[in-house]
């Protein structure tokens, strides 16, 4: 999956370092209240939450640790299928 960049302004739980990066879904956690909406008191349906694994080199470039991985929990609307 690829992480979409967050819109300007507003609350989000998608760390900036993941924007535009490609990772692999390694776990699903069912539907959870979507904090980006809750923070602004918008009533929106719950969203599926996934743990996505990113290779450190994908996030930080070729100089990064080849044996390091970062796992981030991301909501469904943050993600799109990687091509």
């Amino acid at each position: 999956v690829v992480v979409r960049a967050a819109p300007d302004g507003g609350h989000t739980r998608r760390p900036g370092y993941t924007w535009g990066k490609t990772g692999t879904v390694v776990a699903g956690h069912g539907a959870m209240v979507f904090p980006d909406a809750r923070a602004e008191r918008r009533r929106e349906p719950a969203q599926y939450l996934y743990t996505v694994a990113f290779a450190a080199r994908e996030l930080w470039g070729a100089d990064a640790d080849p044996a390091a991985t970062v796992h981030v929990d991301l909501f469904e609307s943050y993600l799109e299928a990687a091509r």
Partner: protein, 201 residues
């Protein structure tokens, strides 16, 4: 508000106003503070880890369902809702962070240490985990895989450290006594003294 404001004084003023307006009960505030000072802390996580080291079936349940396994030991409450336990092995080391704020497994570790909340730890642990761990005293060989867990949503992570060699035959209480908070965050390993700690009476 200036940077010089004393946070403790600010909190005391807030509490005084809330009490004056009958919005909070001071006894309830005292009870919550007492809870986090005495009842909730790393000793809870240490019991979970020691049980997992001595009971293979419990270990399997813990890795599959952190909340359920913690509840078996009477551990529940705030932020125990979505507990995920991640297991260290000889070839894989896990470390926990929260880059966006300071999410932390309160239910099993209590209040986070101040360095965990520092911008330096939060930004560097995801970018150069091996260097940060080495600075914190944990030198991992390059072939050991490092997995950083960035607590960005509702899940809270707890590291299940490797049981140290030389602890064969120790009781669960003796093992719990050597499990440290830092090992359960993943910035240290558990080391065993040459002789087991005395049994709790």
């Amino acid at each position: 508000m200036t940077d010089d404001d004393d946070p403790a004084a600010r909190i005391a003023a807030l509490e005084a106003i809330l009490v004056e307006k009958h919005l909070v009960d001071p006894a309830a505030v005292d009870r919550i503070i007492d809870q986090f000072e005495t009842a909730v802390g790393p000793m809870l996580g240490a019991r979970v880890i020691a049980r997992a080291w001595t009971d293979a079936a419990y270990r399997a349940r813990l890795l599959a369902d952190g909340r359920g396994a913690a509840a078996e030991l009477g551990i529940a409450g705030i932020q125990a809702e979505h507990l995920k336990v991640v297991e260290n092995t000889a070839t894989r080391h896990n470390v926990v962070a929260c880059t966006l704020c300071s999410c932390y497994p309160w239910a099993v570790l209590g209040l986070p240490p101040s360095w965990y909340k520092s911008p330096e730890y939060r930004s560097r642990i995801v970018r150069e985990p091996r260097a940060v761990l080495a600075e914190l005293g944990l030198a991992l060989p390059p072939e050991v895989e490092i997995v950083v867990w960035d607590s960005s949503a509702e899940l809270r992570y707890l590291v299940l450290p490797e049981r140290p060699a030389g602890t064969e035959g120790w009781t669960e209480d003796q093992l719990a006594a050597v499990v440290t908070r830092d090992a359960m965050i993943g910035v240290a390993t558990v080391r065993a003294p040459a002789t087991p700690p005395p049994e709790r009476s």
